[in-house]
Symmetry: C2
Subunit: 207 residues, 2 copies
Amino acid sequence: MVAMKSGSGNETRPRGRPRAFDRDEALDAAMRLFWRRGYDATSISALTEAMGLTPPQLYAAFGDKRRLFEEAVGKYLAETGAFAAAALERPTAREAVEALLRDAARELTAPGQPPGCFCVLGAVNCGPESAGVEEDLRRHRAASEAAIRTRIETGLGVGELPAGTDPAALAKFYTGVFQGMSFQARDGASRSDLERVAELAMSAWPG
Amino acid sequence: MVAMKSGSGNETRPRGRPRAFDRDEALDAAMRLFWRRGYDATSISALTEAMGLTPPQLYAAFGDKRRLFEEAVGKYLAETGAFAAAALERPTAREAVEALLRDAARELTAPGQPPGCFCVLGAVNCGPESAGVEEDLRRHRAASEAAIRTRIETGLGVGELPAGTDPAALAKFYTGVFQGMSFQARDGASRSDLERVAELAMSAWPG
DNA sequence: CCATATTCGTAGTGATCACTACGTAAATGC
DNA sequence: GCATTTACGTAGTGATCACTACGAATATGG
């Protein structure tokens, strides 16, 4: 992979001294460390070492620890986490949820990246001073559950599911299964372990 | 509940100056704080405040932070966590797992105590220096999964389940559901939310 | 009363935390 | 060349971390 550093085009260069590192590479290293250890347990010194930066470089480029984390979350959702939104676009609600769980079994145990979902595990057990970070990820999880519920409601609306099906309960169940799978991935579960979990979870699908 | 402080009987008293606090009450306060915030995010100063002790009192009575945590885990498993072992003693494997999840829906959201399972949430995202604590709880979780698997194997052995049922896969599924429920409890799920999750999970039971 | 044993309260220890002040280096605009 | 702008490296900041040294206090055993 030949690296062509940022914007070699004819855009006007910024005014001052150019940055001596690749901002996106540094952000990627930060994301992976936050992902593996969680917000609170990831110290600035661990970050600077993983990112190959000095503390002033980190602060100048990313603001502070919290904003760096938020950027890392955004990068995760846009890259690794994209499979989830893609799965929900399948033609039927059942296929959508099934794809979500099957793809999750693969993604949550993918080699070369931390096990489990960053959005689930990245900010558990934060101290009182960083409770806001925990709350931010909680909102992301709530949004994911809402997206699943909306997908199920759509399927119910076009008659894919038995009348009387409770989309909110179903969405909470599959959200819980996904979060359980994340936890089990961090506890060492393999891809095939999680695929069996996904298969059993789908056998609870109504109808 | 009239409190009768420890051992008023005719046992010989210890030699030196008596302790000025109730050790079990202090341990209970520590357990609840660890349970709510997790190992790393619970500082000694937060513990001493919650337990009503000075640091030297805490260290003299409990050793160090890690041993205090281990004692808190033991107390949790013996008290709050006892419902799980009790559920597995039901006459059939299905009743056992169903009771486990139904009782979990109640216990994980019980008023007056932190939401979720201490054994699941108490040591997530520990830093490198306290990774051993995380590993200790991981072993407890593995033991719980093994207990569920054994219960299912017993049921399979007496013909409760269809031949060809995979006890390990089933145990991992229900363990994952339980862990997901713990996570959702901390995210604000209600008892009835979790009861619906439990009911859906049971609809995946083979046969 | 005295020796022994254990806990008490006061007041800190060095290490690490997130974060930054400051002077220098390297780019652009004119 | 020279002002301006931005990033650089060095070297720290006060706060909090888990943990403890030390002498006084309070119990038992004789």
